[in-house]
């Protein structure tokens, strides 16, 4: 019986931790997607300086979030986001709009997949 209470506490802690990581992923997904959408809008309308600033902002934001995410998400999808986001600013600075739009779109897909793969959906459970 003395082992029951630590076991229940442990389960509660694990569930709490799971909810916390879910919220962290969701927050990054929402904020990241918003930044990337703005970046796309700026790139489409030819404001590449603003697009470069937004790309830098996204990279800084990702750099902070990544350090927390490496604790509970496999490293491969995280490295993919790091790779792409590190290129965006230079694509904007050196006026490669086509590549910038394509890479931003790819990054949005990566961010969405990162969040979707953490959701307790049936497709992730099977």
């Amino acid at each position: 019986m003395k082992r029951l209470y630590p076991a229940i506490i442990l389960i509660v802690l694990i569930l709490g931790l799971s909810v916390f990581t879910q919220l962290q992923c969701r927050r990054f997904y929402q904020e990241g997607t918003q930044l990337l959408s703005e970046l796309m809008q700026q790139a489409k309308s030819g404001h590449l300086e603003e697009a470069a600033a937004l790309a830098g902002q996204f990279y800084d934001h990702w750099d902070q979030t990544k350090n927390a995410m490496v604790w509970y998400i496999r490293h491969e999808p995280l490295e993919r986001i790091t790779d792409i986001s590190s290129r965006l600013m230079y694509l904007a600075i050196y006026d490669d709009r086509a590549q910038l739009l394509a890479q931003t779109n790819e990054l949005m897909v990566c961010v969405r997949e990162l969040y979707d793969n953490e959701l307790p959906l049936l497709r992730n459970l099977v």
Binding site: R3, A7, L10
Partner: protein, 223 residues
Amino acid sequence: MLISFLRTLILYSVVICGMRIMGKRQLGQLQPSELVVTILISNIATLPIENSDVPLILGIIPILTLMSFEVILSVLTLKSVRLRRLIWGGTRVIIKDGRIDQKALAGLRYSVDDLMEQLRQNEIFDLRQVEYAVAETTGQLSICKKALFEPITPKTAGMTVAPSAPPAIIISDRKTVQQGLSYCKMQEDELQKILQKEGYRPEDIFLMTCTPDRDYYIVPVEH
């Protein structure tokens, strides 16, 4: 390389702690659910050790979850007989009044060879010696011999025997074992007196056992 070493060390500690929390039952004969948990834990622990791309917590969380549910399940099965039957199954009598229940044997998928092997492990080589045999939930066979083949005990011989406590280890490899001393209700100075009487010092003793009645046995160190 150092990361791999440290991750192995952490997971080893987690698994050891888990086994300790799950208790001694886990280390002895396993019930079906305990066997499943033990196999799963050993497999899960290897994943983050092998692959450093997998965060350590993805190995630790399943281990702690399995461990916690195993503890919760064992408490629930302790309270509910029905759940116990559901999770661990029940015992089956496969030899009754000296007759093999062939249906029960087939139901358990126990071959005659399995039965004979289990009997031999219980030091029975002749089936006719068995009165009852019960297949336990752990898969082990518990056997009750016919009275005719039971060894003679003081009770069957009509003798009265004074109860005696088993001996405990007092000195193990030159070191005094405090647990043994307290079991025998013996003080250090009494131990010294016994050793002096026998002509030994504690550092000369490889093993010393003693009962609470001061019936001791000494094995000296071989030089």
